[in-house]
Symmetry: C2
Subunit: 172 residues, 2 copies
Amino acid sequence: MRETGRSGCPINLTLEILGDRWSLIVLRDMMFGNRRHFRELQAKSDEGIASNILADRLKRLLENGLISRRDDASHKQKGIYSLTEMGISLVPVFAAMADWGRRFLPVTPEMSIRAEILAEGGPALWQKFMAELRFLHLDAPQPAQSVLDELTEAYRCAVERKRAADAEPEVV
Amino acid sequence: MRETGRSGCPINLTLEILGDRWSLIVLRDMMFGNRRHFRELQAKSDEGIASNILADRLKRLLENGLISRRDDASHKQKGIYSLTEMGISLVPVFAAMADWGRRFLPVTPEMSIRAEILAEGGPALWQKFMAELRFLHLDAPQPAQSVLDELTEAYRCAVERKRAADAEPEVV
DNA sequence: AAAACTGCTTGCGATTTGCAAGCAGTTGGC
DNA sequence: GCCAACTGCTTGCAAATCGCAAGCAGTTTT
């Protein structure tokens, strides 16, 4: 897929690794959805990633050091994918992209609530989130506060609000 | 190339527009290299973009509102491409990506000097840069200080240093 | 009048994508 | 023990995209 050595520019090298329509989706689901198994990443994917593409991307992300893989002790066939420090360090990139997307693209309110929180929280919140990801994916100590829970709960509430609004449209 | 409606997630929608290996390269060259004509974007491209790909990406970026195009008064065939506010707003995304790339990928020192400056300058510098881009690409007033000149000069110096070092390798 | 330059198109083989089905092995419920 | 459900992942194939080279009509420079 990717040829080597287009140029030594950081933007270009980043695009050579992540410049497609699926790699960052996979990382996003691992990061914000805490999805760690193959089928989990495939079945719960909002965008409906095909299994061969997922297999290919996981392989590529492994080769490039963004994620790691270990066997699941509870199931001999299961593998657990984890973010590496390199993958966790993409948090600011996700935050910037998500903030841009929610400002200029036709996002849905539920899906952009987390982008909003991340934008408002700024770099300080991103650091907290990264510390939590180091706990979830690496062997770092557990932080006091869970940013992921906060994000997930806000998302859950937004979905709930939408569901309620759709069910009772008398309030116009 | 892109199908519509995978999901309303800001990350996904951003990837549907910019998730390939060339779109951001084109925008990068317009933004940091101030390249505004077709041939300029093609010939001076460090990565060697093919003309059909460039034509396709410019069309797509136009359709998606990231750039605009107007005729060049000085040459009846020339078109001038400009960044829109939507395109200019990608500065933080570029800064985040470039910073990540320079930390984790095999970048060359010359090519990462600008990423370094942007990372050190932080959001305050990005805002200054965006104000300057609004002057160069839209009709905004000229800011006092030119961030682009600063970046370009630092890059030029880095290239010069490298050239000198390559020419006289007696200093080991 | 010739040469160089303008944005951009065309042709074509190789790669990548999207979609559906399937496979060998594992686990859990009965 | 037995079977259904589940595991990560592969295969086949048509359609789309990519990378590369050449070329084109019109404009400007020399």
